[in-house]
Symmetry: D2
């Protein structure tokens, strides 16, 4: 028996001889010169132009995700360029592959937690929901996502600034409030300072912007792709990948027995 | 004899307990809320904030590169997500790997051609340099990059709009003029309409912005990374990857002998 | 306070002017001409040469994983080559990125399940452990990994052949026995035929070979890398990627409004 | 006007309810237990079983490509695993992306050079063709591929062993002879020792085996995929990626101004 074919529908964009249409808008006339890159990313994700407030908060969120210094993914990208200088796109791809559960899963986890907890307890006060969340994590012995930072203490300086921008534009709402309630409860239960880190702030603001929690990792990928191109342009000018490689190889070879 | 170690220097960014610095600027105070995503990308690539004109032209260039419909790279990303839905970053990476010589090499080729031709003939008139370029390509039987389009005829609607934005901000200069001279000469020699396509316009504007030609592919990668996240968010909601796979597999299996 | 440095040790291989050593063996003299590719892969994974039996079973397992027709990952690799024909390695990389939880997680899941269940119940009979496993999955409403196949019914023809090869060489032991007990119990509880599929057989044989369960995905990656190179060499000769792309783009463009 | 559809043909493999066919052979009955992994790779690439001699030489060639110690691609793979431990396949993909022109282009270059030179001068003696090749490279100031090695001097120990295995099985023919003639001529012209390195030997043997030159990079990818899985299994047991990252980040942060 023949399988029933499904249609191949996509609303991202299409072209004809005279026209190029992206998410329903005419690219040359409605988009170019009218939308900045953050607003364009919003259009891609949601299918509509952002309001000025959405644009401001969304731009701030993604800008936060661009640059984090010499991270494992930046080094992986530089080492890939060393072997394939003709393929910068693949060096970026190698770096992006490292944006998995450890470095990019956090915001996603916060966004999912906030959305699912509120969906499960739609009428409860934040304090009650927060208490449930903290207790669940304590019992399962898993860390609460979005709280604490190994370096930035007592606060992560990005968080108050992101919340300030969100508040200015009316996007500091119930998701941020719930995360703040989780923080207070966690600090009470665990008796230590647990600041909301940038990951937590970004997860909460993704929810405030009405984006699905799965989009969180996409925002991290967008930010990081820009950052990786920055690192690779620096690597072309002042390379360090080869030195990182040679040091590691020399040390491990000596240890393994190469005199 | 011991190899002399080279230092590991990077000026991209660094953090301490209280501070996060990106390209010399304080991230929370100087960047968040002040730079949109395009301006942030410019900061990453050049190490300084853009002027308003640079920001406008750069944003328009990268925005142009975001969305091109259901391209091979968008399909590759969707098919990758089908096998690894837990790793959206790798689906984007798979799509980016296809941004090679065929789809992303064009702007790079135009930028390199314009810069190298002007470096080789610094005092010649555009017409003379253009004649040399067209003749070189004719003799080597290679296509002139940045001219002609398989679909958009007689003009690529993105090109006049990009040049209009560039002119508004004082970035329609000698690189655009040289490319236009190449176009005129090519049309004269080959006796057919050869519009400057978006690839050509972007290559020329990369030069006008003072970016190295190697950055061209980086701009394509940034734009495409955003577009691919858009496609993947659509794929999560209304998947088509599985249907594309099944149709191809069914047809090839039947042809190969599976009755 | 300065962080304490950890040494960079690796026992994979090293070279000097005269020698190339891989996992303690001299590459030209001890390996080349003595080990086939499967035996070499075993050496890489375990640090020692396989016995003839280990070599036979391991080769059969990985050979099983090489080719599965026009899968999503094979199509993704072909579409990537279309954009970057100069970078076959990246086309393979794009295909490998799709070997995630859906297509490559299965064997890993089986291997992990068998090892952890036996570690938790070291003295129990297979039937008792199997009953516990089936009940756990029933309660959590998750599918038992390694059982059933959407196409190959009533049996997956690879499974009896793999078990036959394993038995010949003394590698059909307690892990296979436990998986067979799980199958019997699952068929009894769910009242339907649930053959051990190739994924299940491979997961069990990975355990029989004494490899860590995390290596299962590595075996899938090795097999698939070989298969993807095969697909790409065919694509170079008789391309189909462009046709897959054009059909999808044409259909979605028409649906979206391009007349 | 409607585009004419091309068929989607692939001869790699297909399945029905009872059968799994790979390159025309029944997988369970004709392949499993009969072909080792190298022979399976040959089947994938050529569509037929290898002769014993082809199997021996092909296995030796690919085995040579598996392990090269702590290379940039091995480090990139380990750093990727650090961020995405749930996605070993993507760590391998990140490492493969670095197998570009610098590390994997060599054998391809040798194979292409040998095939194209002989196609252009089908009746000339090796010495005459070699003299032409050396002169062409001297004039264009490009290095001859496959000759010389930064570490292995005066000879690359893999080369005589590979040629010995090839000779045993009747695969040391005109391609090896031409490369040896190129070596002699290059040493005469440049007045220094220029041993055929493993890259050169593998390029020549790819030709002797009758594989297309484009397959050379595929062989490097197959070998390296196996080697990368080996590195990642070691990384799971005794990690060094984090230490490589932290050292690089600490040094560059201090240099950039983080006190």
């Amino acid at each position: 028996m023949e399988r029933v074919r499904q249609p191949l529908n996509s609303e991202m964009g299409w072209s004809t001889r005279e026209r190029i249409v992206v998410r329903g808008l005419d690219l040359p006339n409605d988009i170019l010169g009218h939308l900045d890159l953050g607003e364009m990313a919003w259009l891609e994700l949601t299918g509509r132009r952002p309001t000025p407030g959405e644009a401001a908060v969304f731009n701030a969120v993604v800008v936060t995700l661009v640059e984090h210094g010499l991270t494992p993914s930046a080094i992986a990208a530089r080492l890939t360029l060393l072997g394939a200088p003709e393929a910068m796109q693949s060096a970026v791809a190698s770096g992006l592959n490292g944006m998995g559960s450890v470095f990019a899963g956090g915001s996603e986890g916060v966004a999912r937690l906030l959305i699912e907890a509120q969906a499960a307890h739609p009428t409860s006060a934040h304090e009650a929901v927060a208490a449930q969340i903290v207790e669940d994590h304590r019992v399962r012995r898993t860390a609460l996502p979005g709280l604490g930072h190994h370096l930035h203490k007592p606060i992560d300086p990005r968080t108050p600034r992101l919340f300030e921008i969100a508040a200015e534009h009316g996007f500091k709402g119930r998701h941020v409030a719930l995360l703040e309630a989780v923080q207070r409860e966690a600090e009470r239960v665990h008796q230590r300072t647990l600041p909301i880190n940038a990951t937590g702030a970004i997860g909460a603001l993704t929810c405030e912007l009405g984006l699905p929690w799965q989009a969180s990792r996409g925002l991290a990928v967008i930010g990081r792709a820009i950052g990786l191109v920055g690192h690779l342009v620096e690597e072309l000018r002042t390379p360090i990948g080869k030195e990182i490689w040679l040091r590691a190889e020399e040390e491990s070879s000596r240890a393994a027995g190469a005199a």
